[in-house]
C-alpha cells in the first residue's frame, strides 16, 4: 500500500492508498489507521486541475497546482505539503538562489548590481507585464552573483534573471 504524509495548513495526516486502483470510482483510504470511504464521481474527467470527491457523504471539490504546493477550495486556499514515503524522490527543490522570470514580460528597471549584498525581500528588478509593473524581490539574503538581464530586455517565462549566492 502506498503511504503519504500530507500536511494541509496546520493539519498533518498519514494517508494510506492503493487498496483499489487510483482511478476507481469508489475508494477506501486509511487515515491515521482508520478506513475512510471516498467516492470519486469524475475519476476519469478531463479537468485534471479540478477534482471532486464525496468523503463520507461530504462533497469536496479541490484544485491543486502542478507542484502540489497549494490546495484551493471553496473554504479557502491552504498550503499543502506531500511527502511520498514510497518514492525516493522528494518534491523539487526550490530556493537555490536563482531568480527566474515568474511571467514573461519586459524588464523595465534593475535595482541591484553584481556583487551587491541583498536582504530577503529586497527589490531586485521590475518586470512589466499586463500593463503592471511587477517588483521582483530577493527570495533570500546573499550576494548578487549574476545579473542576466538589462532594462528594456524582454524575457520568457522561467528565464534566469539573476542569481544570489
Amino acid at each position: 500500500m502506498k503511504k503519504l504524509t500530507v500536511q494541509v495548513d496546520g493539519g498533518l495526516f498519514e494517508i494510506g492508498l492503493g487498496i483499489q486502483p487510483a482511478h476507481a470510482a469508489d475508494l477506501v483510504v486509511e487515515v491515521d489507521g482508520r478506513k475512510i470511504h471516498v467516492q470519486s464521481p469524475n475519476g476519469s474527467a478531463r479537468d485534471a486541475a479540478s477534482e471532486w470527491f464525496i468523503i463520507e457523504g461530504r462533497p469536496v471539490e479541490i484544485s491543486i497546482d502542478e507542484g502540489f504546493g497549494w490546495i484551493e477550495t471553496r473554504w479557502g486556499t491552504f498550503p499543502l505539503r506531500i511527502l511520498d514515503q514510497t518514492r525516493a524522490s522528494a518534491p523539487p527543490h526550490v530556493g537555490d538562489g536563482r531568480v527566474k522570470a515568474p511571467i514573461p514580460g519586459q524588464v523595465t528597471h534593475v535595482a541591484v548590481r553584481q556583487g551587491e549584498d541583498v536582504h530577503a525581500g529586497q527589490p531586485l528588478l521590475v518586470l512589466e507585464a499586463m500593463k503592471m509593473e511587477n517588483e521582483i524581490r530577493a527570495p533570500k539574503p546573499g550576494t548578487v552573483a549574476l545579473v542576466n538581464v538589462k532594462p528594456g530586455q524582454r524575457v520568457a517565462l522561467n528565464e534566469l534573471l539573476l542569481e544570489i549566492q
Binding site: 470519486s40 476519469s44 479537468d47 479541490i62
Partner: protein, 493 residues
C-alpha cells in the same frame, strides 16, 4: 439615434458596450490587435477591424481612420485609453463622428485637476486642504511651515499631474525635504514642469463617487453614490453601493454637492463626482471623472437603468427624459474585480490559456467578462478579467449572496485573485461595513479551517497526487474526440 458605433476598447468593457448596442439595435465595429484576435468582443461585434498601429488603442490616427472607413456615426471609448483625451475628442467632432462622452471642452477642463479643485473651492465646496504651488525647494523652511499648517501626513503633488504620478506621501517632517526634491525632479521628467504643492493626506479615508447623468440642456440627475475604499495595492477589489459609512443626512448632502459641482462645470453626458470622506464625516471634493467607470454597474443594479444606454442616448443629443424623483435606488449591490493574478507569486499577473470556467448563476447575480472556455488571457493587456456583481435587499443579504456566488466561481488553467476577494468579503471590518482605504485584506494566501475539513482536504490531495503520479492515465483524448460515452462516467474498478 446612431446606426453604427466603433468600440475603441477591448475586454469586458467592450463586451458590455456591445451588449447594450445590440439591445438598442445599433451595429457595432470592434477593434483588435493580434493577441486579441480570438477575443470575445471581436466575435460578438457585427464587424471587426485589425488595429495594426504601434500605439494600439491610444493611436488616434489609426482609430479615426477606421471610424471614417467604417462609416460609423459614433465612437465609444470604454474606460481608460482615449476616454480623457480632449484632443482626440475634438478630432472626432471635426470628423463628424460623435464621441460618446462629454464634449472636448469639458474633458479638457476636467483634465486640469488642480484648476477644477480650485474652482470648486472658490465656489464654496469643501476640498482637501492644500498649499499654493511651491516653486522653490530651497526655501524648505517655508514648505515645512505650510506642511505644519496642513498637519501631517501630507502629500507632495505635481501642479500639472493627474493619476497620482509623481505624488509622494510624507508621514513626518524629517522626510519632507527629500520628498519635495524628488517630487520636483519627477514632475519635471513626467510633465516638463517642476511645480509641486502640498495637500493634506486624508488617512484613513473613504472613496465616494456619485454617478451623474446630464443632458445638453442642463438637466441633471444622480444615481446615488458608490464606495470604492477596499484596496489591494492600489487596486479597488470590492466596491459597493450605497456607501455603508454615510448617514442619510450626509448622503443627501453629498448628492446635492455632486449635482451642484456638475452644474458648476456645466457637465454633460455621464460622469462621476468624486469625494474623499475622513473619519469624522468631513467630505472633500477631489475630481470629476468624465467617463463611465468600471464600477458603473453597481449603480445600474440599484437604479435598474442601463448607464451605457443612457450615455449613448445623451451623446445623441436626447434629453434625460426623467427627473430625480423617477430614480428609485433600491437595495444594495457589491462588485468584485476578478483579475488574472497569482496569489502564490505575490499577485503577479497570470495570463494564459483558460481551460474551463464556471460562472455563478441564480438570482441577482451579474457577471461581465470577456472570458470563454478555451480562450487566452493575453499578456499584453491589464489583468482585469471579470466583474462579479450581486444585488440584495439589504447589505448583509447582498454580502451573503456575494459569498455564495464567489463559492460557485471556478477558473481552471489560470490563477486569479479569487481567494483574496473571498477573504476580503469575509473579513470583520467589511462584514461590519466599517472599513476604509487602510483596511486592505491580508495578501497572504492562507485560510483557516477546522480539523475535519483539513482531513478531508488531505484525503482529496492524497488521491489527486496518487492519480497524477500513477502510471495509469485516464484516456482523455478518446473521450473528448468521440463525444459522450455513458460508460465514461465510471472507470473499471
Amino acid at each position: 439615434m446612431f446606426t453604427k458605433i466603433l468600440i475603441a476598447n477591448r475586454g469586458e468593457i467592450a463586451v458590455r458596450i456591445i451588449r447594450t448596442c445590440r439591445e438598442m439595435g445599433i451595429q457595432t465595429v470592434a477593434l483588435y490587435q493580434s493577441p486579441d484576435r480570438d477575443s470575445l468582443h471581436v466575435r460578438m461585434a457585427d464587424e471587426c477591424v485589425l488595429l495594426d498601429a504601434p500605439d494600439g488603442f491610444l493611436d488616434q490616427d489609426a482609430i479615426l481612420q477606421i471610424a471614417v472607413e467604417k462609416r460609423v456615426d459614433a465612437l465609444h471609448p470604454g474606460v481608460g485609453f482615449l476616454t480623457e483625451r480632449d484632443d482626440f475628442i475634438a478630432r472626432c467632432e471635426q470628423a463628424g463622428i460623435k464621441f460618446i462622452g462629454p464634449p472636448a471642452r469639458i474633458v479638457s477642463h476636467m483634465r486640469h485637476k488642480l484648476e477644477v479643485v480650485e474652482s470648486a473651492s472658490r465656489a464654496g465646496f469643501p476640498t482637501v486642504p492644500r498649499s499654493d504651488c511651491v516653486v522653490n525647494e530651497k526655501d524648505i523652511a517655508a514648505v515645512g511651515k505650510e506642511a505644519q499648517r496642513l498637519g501631517y501626513p501630507v502629500i507632495v503633488k505635481s501642479c500639472r499631474g493627474g493619476r497620482g504620478r509623481g505624488s509622494r506621501l510624507v508621514m513626518t517632517p524629517d522626510r519632507l525635504g527629500s520628498a519635495v526634491r524628488r517630487a520636483q525632479a519627477e514632475a519635471l521628467t513626467i510633465y516638463g514642469d517642476r511645480q509641486v504643492y502640498l495637500e493634506k493626506a486624508i488617512l484613513p479615508a473613504h472613496q465616494i463617487g456619485v454617478q451623474i447623468l446630464a443632458d445638453n440642456q442642463g438637466k441633471m440627475i444622480h444615481l446615488g453614490e458608490r464606495e470604492g475604499s477596499l484596496l489591494s495595492g492600489n487596486q479597488k477589489i470590492v466596491e459597493e453601493a450605497p456607501s455603508p459609512c454615510l448617514s442619510s443626512a450626509l448622503r443627501e448632502e453629498i448628492w446635492r454637492a455632486a449635482l451642484e459641482l456638475a452644474a458648476l462645470f456645466e457637465f454633460e453626458n455621464v460622469g462621476t463626482v468624486e469625494f474623499l470622506l475622513d473619519e469624522r464625516g468631513n467630505f472633500f471634493f477631489t475630481e470629476i471623472k468624465p467617463r463611465i467607470q468600471i464600477e458603473h454597474s453597481l449603480s445600474e443594479m440599484l437604479s435598474r437603468l442601463d448607464i451605457v444606454k443612457e450615455q449613448i442616448r445623451l451623446a445623441a443629443g436626447e434629453p434625460i427624459g426623467m427627473t430625480q424623483s423617477d430614480v428609485h435606488l433600491l437595495g444594495w449591490a457589491m462588485q468584485c474585480r476578478i483579475s488574472a493574478e497569482d496569489p502564490r507569486k505575490q499577485y503577479l499577473p497570470s495570463p494564459g490559456y483558460l481551460q474551463s470556467l464556471h460562472l455563478p448563476g441564480g438570482s441577482d447575480v451579474r457577471v461581465d467578462t470577456y472570458l470563454f472556455n478555451g480562450c487566452v488571457v493575453p499578456i499584453e493587456y491589464d489583468p482585469l478579467i471579470a466583474k462579479l456583481l450581486v444585488w440584495g435587499k439589504d447589505r448583509e443579504s447582498c454580502r451573503l449572496r456575494l459569498s455564495r456566488a464567489l463559492d460557485e466561481t471556478r477558473f481552471l488553467g489560470i490563477s486569479t485573485n479569487l481567494s483574496l476577494v473571498r477573504r476580503a468579503v469575509e473579513q470583520p471590518p467589511f462584514v461590519a461595513g466599517n472599513y476604509s482605504t487602510e483596511s486592505s485584506p491580508a495578501l497572504s494566501v492562507e485560510d483557516t479551517a477546522d480539523e475535519l475539513l483539513l482531513r478531508d482536504l488531505a484525503i482529496a490531495a492524497a488521491i489527486a497526487y496518487w492519480r497524477r503520479r500513477s502510471s495509469f492515465q485516464p484516456e482523455l483524448p478518446d473521450r473528448l474526440l468521440s463525444g459522450w460515452h455513458r460508460d465514461s462516467r465510471r472507470l473499471p474498478s
